[in-house]
Amino acid sequence: MRHGKYPFIIGFLAVPVALYAVFVVAAYVQTFQLAFTSWSGFGVIKYVGFENFEKLWNDDLFWKSLRHNGFLLLLLPIATIAIALVFAFLLNVGGGTKGGMTRGVRGSKLYRVIFFFPQLMALAIVAVIFGRVFSSDKSGMLNGLFPDSWQPWLFLADDRWALTCILVVLVWQAVGFYVVLFSAGMGSIGEEIYEAAALDGATKVTLFFRITLPLLWNTIQTGWVYLGIAAFDAFALVNIMTVDRGGPDGATSVLAMMIYRNTFEYSQVGYASALGVVLFFLTLTFAALTLRVTRRDAV
């Protein structure tokens, strides 16, 4: 009955493979190729060897953007996972024991529904909302809430705090997703484990560090990689929210923003491609490192 297997296989694969090859594979391959050219987006393509990478090495904005991505890479996963773990724990185990059974606090389902919602919103729309929330005059939500006697805070217009504002928005959006994710993980930890520990007199804190955390490790690890990849992006927020798109004075510039501007505004497709290549290797290194460093023996 294997008759007609190959026509069928080819028929099913043709369209997806063609779409993928033309729009994804070709685009990535060309990025690696164009990284070694001085192409502006028009005219002939001239190969320049490693010139783009040399230029990049001496570009202050590149190092600045890299530092900003590093800042987000370090703090976004830590803050999000820490907050989400605490809330997930409160929701699932916080209600204390009753007859030896651990249970969540009352209304835990409602909390979870509310917390999760920001995850559904487009980052672009979140960026527009928080651009107004952080407005540096009385029309901003936060400045509006502050007492009238205070000087309005500058938030995004202050080069010392602008990047922190971006971080806050990213955390705000991500926490709910990880609360739900960790809750699901905690739900699969057997009741009898908590029960046994509680009988042995373990406190909540002990329960959290000795049982919940180790058993959730794989999920946390996955979350760490996802959040790290999000920290390499942040384009929508920077492009929509910040002063001068990456400002003030480059204070919120990130690699994705540099790639976009070099491609579409400075006609430096070659240079943008070199940035893209660097970004690719950074992302890959980060993912590999995270998975390696945080690997533990299965519990």
């Binding site: 297997k5 060309q30 409160l90 917390f115 672009a124 729309i125 994710l181 790639i259």
Partner: protein, 300 residues
């Protein structure tokens, strides 16, 4: 959803347990305080947006962000719908996402099925070619993508945008569904073959229905992902008359820039509200499925 176990075994409360009970109450109180705090932090900005959409510019600049508006009128909404074209952008988004998600699911499940259940020369190569797409950040290839579309005359067209959406959604869709198709039993498959069902018929009439739960999760995942896409439409929908074809995220981002020049903040807030409300409605109805769909990727 919650793990509340309701098997209340009768327990005698003795003196030392009295103390732990009091501690528990304090802990519980703190827990609720923390949870309420985060619920307010989450919902606060959204509520503020809705309130501000009814206010005049003067009122917005008055401070007191959570004060009720002095008058309720839907004028700002009319201007967001008509002049700021939110209605148009909304429908554009609906159209693009409907077609592209349908396309993603059709082509993604076809490829995943063949790759998961048929052995042929090059199977692994094609599979890893798709899956390796997960490792590449989309925005690293913006320039080349733009020029590929330009050369094919697909810039600023819906079919261009839709094809790009499908292509960039395939890696995860195939990765997820191939794993899913692998777990389906082989007995039914074989029985259908014996009964003389063709490969194509087997796929549509037997395998697709059996894979329903996986298909639902990944469909939701793709709808949300494509609805929220901002970078790809920004790259593709540019050129003459592009502002007629923008999707919602682009439209809102643009209103936000324009509002700065014309000081029409309430229109922006109305536009934001119009884009959030449908999401809340859909979320209220399907929140279980949506939570399951979006977390599906992380708990494979």
């Amino acid at each position: 959803m919650s793990n509340v176990t309701t098997m209340d075994a009768p327990v005698k409360v003795s003196a030392p347990q009295e103390k732990t009970r009091r501690e528990l109450k304090a802990f519980n109180g703190l827990a609720h305080l923390a949870l309420i705090f985060w619920a307010v932090v989450t919902a606060g900005p959204l509520l503020w947006v809705v309130l501000a959409s009814f206010k005049s510019n003067t009122e917005i600049f008055l401070g007191e962000p959570f004060a009720l508006p002095s008058t309720f009128s839907l004028e700002t909404y009319l201007s967001a719908w008509d002049q700021a074209h939110i209605g148009r952008y909304f429908l554009n988004s609906v159209f693009v996402v409907l077609v592209s998600t349908a396309g993603t699911m059709l082509f993604g499940s076809m490829a995943a099925y063949v790759l998961a259940r048929y052995s042929f020369v090059g199977n692994r190569i094609v599979y890893y070619l798709f899956v390796s797409g997960l490792a590449f950040p989309t925005f690293m290839a913006l320039g080349p993508l733009f020029h590929i579309l330009k050369n094919m005359g697909l810039l600023n067209t819906y079919h261009g945008l839709i094809m790009v959406y499908i292509a960039y959604s395939l890696p995860f869709t195939i990765f997820f569904l191939a794993a899913f198709f692998k777990t389906l039993p082989h007995e039914i498959d074989e029985a259908a073959t014996v009964d003389g069902a063709s490969h194509t018929r087997k796929f549509f009439q037997i395998m697709m229905p059996m894979a329903k739960s996986g298909l639902v999760s990944i469909t939701i995942f793709n709808i949300v992902g494509q609805w929220n896409q901002y970078l790809l439409p920004l790259v593709i929908m540019q050129g003459q008359g592009a502002d007629q074809k923008w999707v919602l995220t682009q439209g809102i981002a643009n209103i936000s820039t324009q509002a700065g020049y014309h000081a029409e903040w309430s229109t922006l807030f109305a536009a934001l509200t119009l884009s959030i409300i449908p999401m809340i409605v859909v979320y209220a109805i399907f929140q279980r499925q949506i939570q399951a769909g979006l977390t599906a990727g992380a708990v494979k």
